[in-house]
Amino acid sequence: MADVTIIGAGVAGLWAAYACLKRGLRPRIIDRAGTPGPHGCSWWAGGMLAADCEGAICEPQVITHGRNATALWQEVTRVTSRGTLVLAPSRDGVELDRFAARTCGHTGCDSAKITALEPDLGGLHRRGLFFAQEAHLNPRQALSDLTQKLLSSGILVETGTVTPDDIEGPVIDCRGMAAERDLSGLRGVRGEMVVLRSDEIVLTRPIRLLHPRHPLYVVPREGGLFMLGATQIETASRGPIRARSVLELLSTAYALDPRFAEAEVIEMGADLRPAFCDHVPRVIRRGRVLYLNGLFRHGFLMAPTLAEQAAECLLTGKTGDLIHEN
């Protein structure tokens, strides 16, 4: 007999199950499509643990909690702690100044420092910012590692379409956009990504290219793969990536390093990220149900802390700062 039922096996649900397990609670976890895959927005994430950079556009809570993400993820998967390098095309130097003014934890880089950090970008960029405390992980590997971690304790992700009403006892609802009807104010913000493969380019850490119209991030993955992202569109419509987004992502990648022009296009994807109006994720307690939602573009950054707070609340009743009463 399970102590708690978790609905949804994206990054939030899996972490919630794991956080419960750590506290000696036996979870049951159910997802409408089973183990993690393209049906969930976690699948399309960048996997940057970049609390300091995100500070440029988000509330202080996300920065504070996000800084703990690296240590928590290290419990379950491989995390690469090599920081983030932020660059801007030379005519957009003002963007770099603005970004520097709004963030902490960075040091300025000249051309020599950029070359020392990422030799492949040597000579291409004159100024940058280095955020040494940041890290990144491979989201799909991390989801798989979390699933395995649960499996090793005998917890299998079950397949089934359920809502909290179908379940007896405590529930942690991690359905994301599928819980939209239960959570007023939750909305979808579309994100789009492209994966390229290049044998020519070696990058060892996420790179962000600031641009007033088309900002870009590139996250290196194993096997010469590079995940390109950054689009953020205020829309509730799903469906394939738009041509405009592909154009923008690819041309900005080309501006970062012209060798991307010769890269192979491996994958393109898009999905909706659930968000509340202040873009801070929360756990909403409504009777026996804890709704864990609104992770926006901070799924991998914020899921560990949010899940830990939910599990702690379930076990001891303690309400962390991300817990909201209905």
Partner: protein, 253 residues
Amino acid sequence: MRDFYGVTLATPMMLGTARYPSPAVMEKAFRESGASVVTVSLRRERGAGQAFWDIVRGLGIHLLPNTAGCHSAREAITTAQMAREYFQTDWIKLEVIGHADSLQPDPFGLLEAAEVLCADGFKVFPYTTEDQVLAAKLIDAGCRVLMPWGAPIGSGMGLNNIHGLRSLRAAFPDVAMVIDAGLGLPSHAAQAMELGFDAILLNTAVAEAGDPAEMARAFALAAQAGALAAVSGPMGQRDMAVPSTPVIGKAWL
């Protein structure tokens, strides 16, 4: 006081909805600015979720859909027609972009689209340059409001051609005019209003400020100050000093 197709605005502020860190921040900026018009992009925001529209509608101010991102008259006309249906308003801020880098209006496409839309019953707010020939033709086409640029969209440079804007203002004294685009600082807003413009429209300068709500308030105060100055009879500039206290009759030391 000039009105906007029969509508008198409570404040001379029009604000866009793009580029804010979050809808919560956007909503606060609108409240602080006391903006009386919210402009929204149909192309970019049509698919936005109900929660986003609840916030925009909850502002309770005039909705001005725009055709941002359209590069031809045909595209802009279609977008305007969709906007009328979607937002249930015949107001349309008509943007036809002619140049991808400067986002400068395409005067030919703009006039073509304005003629079609005015004939179709739209109340057109054309995003235009300070060119008086174009302004006259837009007015002939049926536009009762003009939205000349201050500077290129998002550039924050302020009023690039004061002479041109002053001449435009003087040439069409009965037409309501909004300085749209390029404002970076509250002083630019004050200057626009001092020149006798009827409102300002901005987005980036507020949305991308470190504290959007406070910046929105700063712009609102500046616009209000400029508007007050415009109706209070500003003094003329002179080439010589004029003492405010008479010198004659004073004791010489």
